[in-house]
Amino acid sequence: MNASAWQMLQEGAWTTVWISGVSIALGVTAGLILALIRIARIPVVDQILVLYISLARATPLVTLALFIFLSAPTFGLNLDRNVAGILALTLNTTAFNAEIWRSAFRNFSREQREAAMAAGMTPWITFRRIMLPQMMITSLPGLINEMSFLIKGSPAIAVIGIVDLTRVTNRISAVTYEPLPPILVACALYMAAIGCLVWLQRIAERRANRLAT
């Protein structure tokens, strides 16, 4: 592999990293918001969210990415392909994250909440200072799991023309006729990214032990 091949790989890796990173950040936050809305059990809104979550969980990423990118013009939107890619990944991961957050909320101990209320905390302070920090710790293993699924699923966005870490290996071998080296490097990079998450997960689990009283 020559210098330009390395540079292409680097660019592809960067594309995967930033698009996944943005989608993860949006997806974790949106998942929390959806979970809270669902817990409020607002009629109609709740049904719509249930429908969204089951649709998003059932749709393959490739299909979702294509659908968003191709249907946008029909709605008069001219979507940048990166935006469409992020939207597809986010819509997918949000649905899973919402369920993770919701179960953390539902399983939150009544005693903990009572201790907060007895100390004069409003529901909002209770949520922000007592519930959310504990929910984050208990949800983190599940959320990180979902993050690694997202990264591993991210090559799907190549279908709308984004040159990510996987797609770029194709481009390189089209020039060099040596498909093996770039794909090996790509594999190593994916493994490094997932490795970081596994390491994070281990830290998260150690902190979670603290909650097991």
């Binding site: 907060a116 007895a118 100390a119 004069g120 905390m121 920090p133 504990q134 032990n209 603290r210």
Partner: protein, 273 residues
């Protein structure tokens, strides 16, 4: 039978302030009734707790004593009746409607509660368990809250563990931290819900001695407990609850040596055996 000589107990400051203003009522409960699924757990309960007094609530399990205590800070909502804390009604506003959550939280902050199962916040260390509410509810500065917290931890003998997390503490240590946490809000009344029932027998003493110290300092306390000797030593008033009714209300001497009801006599006999 509600009269009791203030000088009987050593209470440096509040004893004095109480003799000058003997009518200061910390908690006033009137006609309190509550049912769970059609079963009446509290029936027309009246109770007054004077400032600086220690009131213990006794009764067999299921008599409604924990429910009564939990109504005082509105963790349970009574069906009828009223509760005032330092003259301020809790749970219901002037218009007779349920209090908005923020207002309710403000009134609740006048009480401090110690739970049977401690309920420390496991994601915070000991010091931050104590400073959390003073900072985020009372709006104290971090430095001020921490200084006060360290004093309180000293008082309950937990200063060496200020940086420890709750899961590394014994039950007795957790409960002492929980007491410090409740005291940190400078409440008008401390509520103890069976504070030693979840403890190993050899750890009960350290918690009871902290509570005894507080009573000597003149804190107003309402205590639900099964510890008879402790109740006798610490109380100004003992209340006996049976099927949601207060059937005996007396000073500890009378209650333990010459109760007026057969039911209490039986209850005390059983405890001795």
């Amino acid at each position: 039978m509600f009269e009791k000589n203030a000088s009987e107990k050593a209470m440096p400051e509040t004893a004095a302030s109480r003799t000058t203003a003997p009518e200061q009522i910390a908690v006033s409960i009137r006609h309190l009734s509550k049912s769970f699924d059609g079963v009446e757990v509290l029936r027309d309960v009246d109770l007054e707790v004077r400032e600086g007094d220690v009131v213990t609530i006794l009764g067999s399990s299921g008599s409604g004593k924990s429910t009564l205590l939990r109504c005082i800070n509105w963790l349970e909502q009574p069906d009828r009746g009223s509760i005032h804390i330092g003259g301020q009604r809790i749970g219901v506003n002037d218009a007779g409607r349920p209090m908005p959550v923020r207002e309710l939280a403000r009134v609740r902050a006048r009480t401090g509660m110690v739970f049977q199962s401690f309920n420390l916040w496991p994601h915070l260390n000991v010091l931050h368990n104590v400073t959390e509410a003073p900072i985020h509810v009372l709006g104290k500065s971090k430095a001020e809250a921490e200084a006060h917290a360290r004093e309180l931890l000293e008082k309950v003998g937990m200063s060496p563990k200020a940086d420890a997390y709750p899961n590394t503490l014994s039950g007795g240590q957790k409960q002492r931290v929980a007491i410090a946490r409740a005291l940190a809000m400078q409440p008008q009344v401390m509520l103890f819900d069976e504070p030693t029932s979840a403890l190993d027998p050899e750890l009960v003493g350290e918690v009871l001695s902290v509570i005894k110290d507080l009573s000597a300092e003149g804190y107003t306390m309402v205590i639900v407990t099964h510890e008879m000797a402790f109740a006798r030593a610490v109380s100004d008033q003992v209340v006996f609850l049976e099927k949601g009714l207060i059937i005996e209300k007396a000073d500890p001497e009378t209650f333990f040596t010459n109760p007026s009801t057969e039911r209490v006599r039986k209850f005390l006999e059983r405890d001795e055996s």
